[in-house]
């Protein structure tokens, strides 16, 4: 049983403690509360570096120091505080950094409301458990044999076939019916690789539809996106050793992951609104009358500062878009403003919750919209790398990881 140490404030009183426990149980883990003494809580300033007004946050920090002193107490750490609590957000972030810097224990940081359910937390908990449980598998750096990966995403379904550490075939279709789309993408990948389905030694699935697709195709590995994307990103960016940051702006949610030696350290998943997702860029492309594949190139010629754009809501964002066009803004400026708006929300909401260390690798289909990584570079003041096959990142990660299971 994987032990996840819960360092939190407010979960019981928000009525969500049961949901946290349920999510942990669903992924084969249990929540534990490291023992600390009253003295540990009283002396938290000396031990951790700060004492705050809310006692339960001091207790959470005291528990963090216990874990760092005795890493055998937990396999993973879940730090959670109430959404909209400034004091909680500061402490949550400091605990995350403290654990990350002083131990090799994976950390998940989350802010909940009374509406948080076990289902919302499931993918995050699954990633946390995988990271803690399969360190050996995740340490794998080379793909061997002939394997495939399918990423059944909310907007698109992707597939790759890999042989001896090389991508030899790819397939990409918009997601309609989950299984049908997976089949189409997989067949396209097999065809472009020139291999038959029967020859594939192992298949890995990821993405929203991973369980359904995995079951249908007899996958050897069914894995959430945090783990496979981290692995796929560092593999394709040739950054398997040392630190890295992976940013994936998806169709429905975004992921920001601090990676150490190819293994997720801290990560966040989510996004306040569709305003910070691939959907908004799709909508922008449609409104500008260009293909989504052309939006990036158009944006590269534009200046985001010429168009005010609301980055917190797809409805208001679209309104800004329409208003600026009717006010005579140039399409290239609007395109760049849209990219900047999405990047800005990810930067403000999620990149503050992880350690941003170079190389910064942007993956997923949205990374190919050139304006988006450029906007991210401007915000971070760092170079952003977009590896080849960035849109197939989940498939590559799944294919790489499943080859480890085939060998075993």
């Amino acid at each position: 049983m994987i032990r996840i140490a819960q360092l939190s404030c407010g979960s019981e009183y928000s009525g969500v403690q049961g949901e946290l426990e349920k999510a942990a149980e669903m992924v084969g883990a249990e929540l534990v509360f490291p023992e600390v003494s009253l003295e540990d809580v009283r002396n938290v300033e000396e031990r951790f570096g700060i004492k705050v007004a809310s006692g339960d946050l001091n207790l959470a920090m005291a528990r963090a120091t216990r874990i760092v002193e005795n890493p055998d107490l937990a396999d993973a750490v879940f730090v959670a505080t109430c959404f909209r609590c400034a004091e909680g957000a500061i402490v949550r972030s400091e605990i995350r950094k403290y654990i990350h810097e002083n131990s090799r224990i994976p950390v998940l940081s989350y802010s909940f409301t009374e509406r948080t359910t076990a289902e919302t937390l499931l993918t995050r908990m699954e990633a946390l458990v995988t990271t803690a449980k399969f360190k050996g598998l995740l340490a794998r750096e080379r793909q061997t044999g002939l394997t495939a990966g399918i990423d059944s995403g909310s907007t698109t379904t992707k597939a790759v076939v890999m042989r001896d550490n090389e991508v030899i075939g790819t397939g990409w279709v918009p997601t309609t019916e989950v299984i049908k789309s997976a089949e189409d993408a997989y067949n396209a990948a097999l065809e472009s690789a020139g291999v038959k389905k029967e020859e594939i030694q192992g298949l890995g699935t990821t993405g929203y539809g991973r369980h359904l697709v995995g079951k249908e195709f007899g996958a050897k590995l069914i894995q959430e996106e945090i783990t496979v994307n981290s692995k796929g990103a560092v593999f394709l960016a040739d950054a398997q050793r040392g630190e890295a940051t992976v940013i994936d702006i998806g169709g429905m949610d975004n992921k920001a992951i601090s990676v150490q030696d190819g293994i997720p350290g801290t990560f966040t998943m989510g996004g306040i609104c569709a305003g910070a997702s691939g959907r908004f860029l799709e909508l922008t492309a449609r409104r500008l009358g260009v293909e989504i594949t052309e939006l990036g190139k158009l944006a590269m010629k534009g200046d985001h500062q010429k168009v005010p754009m609301n980055s917190y809501c797809i409805v208001f964002g679209t309104q800004s878009l329409v208003n600026s066009l009717s006010a005579g803004s140039r399409p290239e400026d609007v395109a760049m403003a849209a990219c900047h708006s999405v990047a800005e929300q990810v930067f403000e909401q999620q990149l503050q919750e992880v350690e941003v260390k170079e190389p910064v690798i942007m993956v997923g289909g949205t990374a190919l919209i050139e304006g988006l990584p450029r906007a991210m570079e401007q915000l971070l003041g760092l170079k952003v790398m977009v590896p080849e096959y960035a849109q197939y990142i989940g498939c590559v990660g799944a294919s790489l990881l499943v080859s480890g299971l085939v060998e075993d």
Binding site: C9, G10, S11, E12, Y13, S14, G15, V16, Q17, G18, E21, L38, V41, R42, K51, V52, A53, S54, G55, D56, L57, L59, T81, C82, F83, R84, C85, E87, G88, F112, T113, E114, R115
Partner: protein, 145 residues
């Protein structure tokens, strides 16, 4: 007999002193007891559910963190019921029901603005302070009769 809310609402010292003088101490454990004994509710450990922070909307707006509103759903009815209150200030061991500083501030504010007899004091640190502490509380409680 007067209903005296004590704060921290988990304080054994305050509850005990109140009940010694024949008054009723309003303490959070009685609220928790109601919750844990509610049949059909199964949301351990406190049997609080997402409905509780919604009940807390009576005391704090929706943009106040859920943990504050959830705690207020326990403490709010006690504040309403209170005829008097004794509040410890400046204590550094506040956990659980008093683990959130914002909730503590809001509770103190609501008790103050309710304009009921209110005694605020600090935990004693030496024997002199302890004698004053016990004496002040006794005087306050006897004055409520």
């Amino acid at each position: 007999m007067v209903k005296v809310m004590v704060y921290p609402p988990t304080s054994m010292i305050l509850a005990d002193l109140v009940e010694r003088t024949g008054h009723e101490a309003l303490v959070v454990s009685k609220e928790v007891r109601k919750k844990v004994n509610t049949p059909g509710l199964d949301s351990p450990p406190l049997n609080m559910t997402p409905e509780d922070p919604k009940k807390g909307l009576k005391y704090a707006a929706v943009d106040v963190p859920s943990g504050v509103r959830g705690r207020m759903s326990l403490l709010g009815p006690m504040i309403e019921e209170a005829d008097a209150a004794i509040v410890i200030r400046g204590d550094d061991c506040t956990l659980g029901c008093t683990g959130c500083a914002r909730t503590n501030e809001l509770t103190r504010f609501l008790l103050k603005t309710k304009r009921i007899p209110l005694l605020e004091l600090k935990y004693p640190e030496d024997e002199f302070q302890a004698k004053q502490f016990v004496h002040k509380i006794r005087e306050f409680l006897e004055g409520l009769n």
